[in-house]
C-alpha cells in the first residue's frame, strides 16, 4: 500500500491480501511487469518490527541494484553540475587574479599562464575534469599552494561536529515538542510547545547568535566567546544553529502525528489495550516521521556544511565560509571543490533519507489504507 516505500526502495507494489492481515511486497525483476520474474514477500499486517528486518535482509540484493542505479544517476547529475558551475563561474565578472592595485599586463599574463587561465575555456574544462577523475581538486588560487582537497578536509571537521550536534539536538527537542503538542492537541500544552518552537524560529540566527554570545559568554562568562576547543563550546553555536530546525521538526511532526493519532490503526492499538507510551513511540511516532525524514534529507547537507553566519559569529574554522568566500574571491578551484563536495553530500544524504523512508514506514501510513 505504501507507494512511498515502493518507489523509494525498489518494492514495486505492496498488495494487501483482502481477507487476512497479510501484505505482499512485490518486486518486479528488471522493472518488467512479467509475473514470471515477480518475487513476493509476505509481511504481517500488524508488522512487528523484527519481521521487517527479516524482510529487508532478503531484499538486500534488490537494494544493491537500486543503489547501483542511483549511483549512476548521481554521477550523471554530478557531471551536469560540474559543467554548469564551471560555465557559470567563468561567466560572472571578475577573475581570481584581479587585485585592487593595477598589475602590469605582463604580470597578469604570467599569472594567467601559471594557473592555466590563458587557455581556451574548453581546454581548462577538460583539464579540470581529467584531474577531477583522478580525485585532484586542484590548488587554491587565493590561498597560495594550499590544495583544495586539504582545505575542505581540514575545515569539514569542525562543521561536521557542530552540524551533527545541531541535528541531534533539533531532532530530539523538535520531536519532543512535536509529540507534546500532538498529544495535547488544542489544549494548553499544544499552544505552549508550539509557541516555544516558533519563537526559536522567529528569532533569526544573525540575532540569536550575537545575543547568546553577549549574554552567556560576555556577561555571564558561562561559555567561551568563540572557538570549538571544548565540548562546552558547542552549546551556544548549537542552540543558534538548531533553533530553526527544531521549530520545523516540531511542527511537521505535530502535523502528521495529529493525523496518525486519529487514524484507525492507532485506535485499534488502543483498543488492544496498548499503553499511550507504546502507541506514541512504537506506532504513531514511526508513522509520523516521514515528513521529518524528508526534511532531514536536505537539512543535513546544509547543516553539516556549516552556516556562514554562525561560523562568523563564533569564529568556527568550518567549511561554511568557503561557499561565500570562494565566490567573492573568484577562487575557481575552491568554487568547484566546495560545489562538488556539497553536491555529493546532498545527494548522499537525500539518498539515505530515501532509504530511511522505507525503514521508518515500511508499509502503510494510515489505518484506512489497510482495510
Amino acid at each position: 500500500m505504501s507507494s512511498l516505500a515502493a518507489s523509494a526502495s525498489g518494492v514495486d507494489e505492496v498488495r494487501d491480501h483482502p481477507e487476512s492481515s497479510i501484505t505482499f511486497l512485490v518486486f518486479h525483476r528488471s522493472g518488467s511487469n512479467n509475473s514470471k520474474f515477480q518475487r513476493v514477500y509476505i509481511a504481517n499486517y500488524i508488522y512487528p518490527f523484527e519481521m521487517h528486518i527479516k524482510i529487508w535482509k532478503r531484499v538486500g540484493d534488490e537494494m544493491f541494484r537500486y543503489i547501483a542505479s542511483k549511483f549512476i544517476f548521481m554521477l550523471l547529475s554530478l557531471f551536469v553540475l560540474v559543467s554548469a558551475t564551471f560555465l557559470l563561474m567563468n561567466a560572472i565578472p571578475g577573475s581570481p587574479l584581479q587585485s585592487e592595485k593595477a598589475t602590469s599586463e605582463q604580470v597578469q599574463k604570467n599569472l594567467e599562464a601559471y594557473y592555466g587561465l590563458d587557455k581556451p575555456l574548453i581546454v581548462q574544462y577538460g583539464t579540470y575534469l581529467k584531474n577531477l577523475v583522478k580525485g585532484d581538486l586542484g590548488i587554491s588560487m587565493k590561498k597560495k599552494f594550499q590544495s583544495v582537497d586539504k582545505m575542505i578536509a581540514n575545515s569539514f571537521g569542525p562543521s561536521l561536529r557542530l552540524g551533527i550536534s545541531a541535528i541531534i539536538t533539533s531532532v530530539v527537542v523538535g520531536c519532543t515538542l512535536g509529540i507534546i503538542a500532538a498529544m495535547h492537541h488544542r489544549k494548553l500544552l499544544d499552544n505552549v510547545a508550539m509557541i516555544l518552537a516558533v519563537i526559536g524560529l522567529a528569532v533569526p540566527s544573525m540575532v540569536m547568535g550575537p545575543l547568546l554570545q553577549y549574554f552567556f559568554a560576555v556577561k555571564l562568562r558561562w561559555f567561551e566567546v568563540a572557538g570549538l576547543e571544548n565540548p562546552m563550546d558547542y552549546v551556544l553555536p548549537t542552540i543558534a544553529l538548531a533553533s530553526g530546525p527544531i521549530a520545523v521538526i516540531a511542527r511537521l511532526l505535530r502535523s502528521t502525528m495529529i493525523e496518525v493519532l486519529n487514524s484507525d490503526f492507532i485506535k485499534t492499538a488502543k483498543s488492544k489495550g496498548l499503553s499511550g507510551y507504546v502507541i506514541v513511540v512504537r506506532h504513531a511516532l514511526r508513522n509520523s516521521m516521514l515528513p521529518v525524514v524528508t526534511y532531514l534529507g536536505y537539512l543535513t547537507a546544509g547543516v553539516i556544511t556549516g552556516s556562514v553566519v554562525i561560523e562568523k559569529i563564533f569564529a568556527i574554522p568550518g567549511i561554511g565560509k568557503f561557499f561565500v568566500e570562494s565566490v567573492i574571491n573568484r577562487d575557481y578551484p575552491l568554487i568547484m571543490g566546495t560545489t562538488i563536495f556539497y553536491a555529493v553530500l546532498l545527494m548522499t544524504t537525500r539518498f539515505l533519507a530515501d532509504i530511511a523512508y522505507v525503514l521508518v514506514d515500511p508499509r502503510m501510513r494510515t489505518g484506512k489504507g489497510a482495510k
Binding site: 565578472p93 599562464a113 519532543t176 498529544m183 560576555v218 576547543e229 571544548n230 565540548p231 559569529i313
Partner: protein
Amino acid sequence: MKGSFKKPAQFMLVLIVAFSMLLTACTSNSNKPTPTNSGTENSGSGNTETGGEKEAPQEFRFTLASEPPSLDPALMTDAQSGIVAAGLYEGLTRLNKDGEPENAIAKEIKVSEDGKTFTITLRDDAKWSNGDSVKASDFEYSWKRTLNPETASEYAYMLYYLENGEKYNTGEITDADQVGVKATGDYTLEVKLFTPAPYFTSLLAHYTYLPVHPATVDAADDWATEAKSIVSNGPFLLDQWVHNDKLVMKKNPDYYNKDAINFTTVNISLVESDSTVYNLFETDKIDWIGAQAGSIPTDLVGGLIADGKAEVTSVASVYYYLFNNNKVPFNNAKVRKALAMAIDRQALIDNVLQANQTPAHALVPPSIAGLEGKTFREMYPDTDYISENVEDAKKLLEEGLSELGLSSFPEVTLLYNTSEAHKKLAEALTDMWRKSLGVEVKLANQEWGTFLESRKAGQFDIARSGWGADINHPINFTYDLIHPLSGNNDGKYNNAEVQKLLDGSLVAATQAESMDMLAKAEKIAIDEMGVMPVYYYTTPTLIKPGFEGVFSDYSGHLDWVFGKKTN
C-alpha cells in the same frame, strides 16, 4: 493518553543523555593540541619552551580577520601576511616606530655616488631555523625568484627598481643574471637600481624583499603552507598553523638579537567578525585590537575614543571618490569641484566616521615623510586646497552645467563596494549633496570582484576608492593615482601638465626638486578635482594594560615584534 505522558518524557530524557554522551565523544577526540584559551600551557609534548619568567608570562594574543593567503615572501600581497611575516622573517632592514629604516640583517649599506648602486654587508651570525647561515645568496635567490615570470608574483613590481627587474619579469629578457642583484661574497650583496631611489633602504624592509631558504623552496611548491615545512630566519618561529583557526608563534632561540625579543608565545586567532573580536577582548582572550589585526566595531569607536580607552593613530592611506572624467557631467571640472566643495568633511568625521580622521583636501596623507625630518604635508599643507563652501559650490555647479549645455543635473549613481562603512559614508555624502546642491545621487553597491571590474572598466559615474602606502614616500599617492598612464587612475583623469611633472620628478636632480614637482602635480589635480579626497585614515586601537612596544606603524599595520609585557 494524558496519564501516560510521563513515559515518553523519560524516553526523551534517555535520548538527550545519549546525545550529550555522543557529542562529548565527538568532540573530545578532536581537541586540538594547544587550546588558545588556556594560556601558555602547551600540551604538545615535543616542545621544550617553558614560558620563562614567573612574574609576567610573555604572551601576546591578537586576531587577524582572515588567514594569510601565503607566508611565502614572493607571494604575499596583504596586510595580514605582512603582520605575521614581520615576526617570521628578517629582511635587510626593518622600519622603526617612526617608519624609518634601521639595519637588520644588513650590517652596513653603502650607496654609490650616482645613487644607483648599493653595496650591502650582511651580518654573519643570522641563522635559518634549520641551522643554516643566512647568506647574501639567499637574498639574490629570493629576489630573482620573485621576478621570475614563472613564480607569478603579484607584487613583483616592488622589485622593478632593480636594474632589468621589470624586463626579466615581463619576459623581455630571460637571463636572470642580468638582474641588478648579485651576491659578491657570502655576506656581501651588490644591488644595482635602474634609477636612483633614495627610499630604497625603506623598500628593503618590505616583505617582497625578504629572503627565502633556497633548498626549502626548491624542494616543494607548498613549503609555505604548513608550520612544519616553513624555514624562516626571523625573531619568531611558526609553531602551529591550524588553517582558518589560528597561528601560534614562539620565540626563536637562535635569533641573533634574541635579547631584544621578549614575547615567548604569540597567539594569532583568525576571527572575522568585529563584534566577536571585541567580545574576545572584553573577556581577556586577546590583548590587542586594531591596525589590521582586528578592528573595533564602528559603532563603538566613538565612545571608546571619548572614554580614552582607544588610541587613534594616523595611517598613511587616503579615502577618496573617483569621478568618471570621461562621462557627462564629470567631464567638466566645475561640476566635479562643486560636488567636492559641497560636503562638510569635518561633520562626516565627527558624526559618521568617528575615529578622529583628518579631512583630506589633497591626496598625500599626513604621515608620509617629506624631507629633512618633515612630513610631506608639513612641507606642503593642503588645508586651503579645497574650500568647503556651499554657495560657491552652487554657483560652480550652475556654471558647469551650462557649459555642458545641461538644464539640470543628470541622473548619476555613486558606486561603492559592499560594506557597512562605505554604505554609511555614501549615504551621508549623498544626503549632503541633496541638501546643499539639490542634487540627487543614487547609490549602488557591488560585491568586491564585480566592483573592481566595473571600476577598472570605467562603468561608473562616481566610485569609492581608497589607497594605502607600500612605501613611505609621496610618489605612492601621486604617480599611482593621477598619472594619466597609471593603471590605478580608474577615473581617467588626464592632464598633460601633471604627467610632465610626475615623470620629471623621477629624474629630478635633487630630492627637493622632486618633492616640489610631486606637490605641484598634486595641487593641479586637486584644483581640477580629478579625484575627490574625503579623509585620511586613522586606526583606533585597543590594548590591554601592561604592554610596551606594540604599536600601529606608519602604514597602519600592527607592529608587535619587539613588544614586551611589563606586569
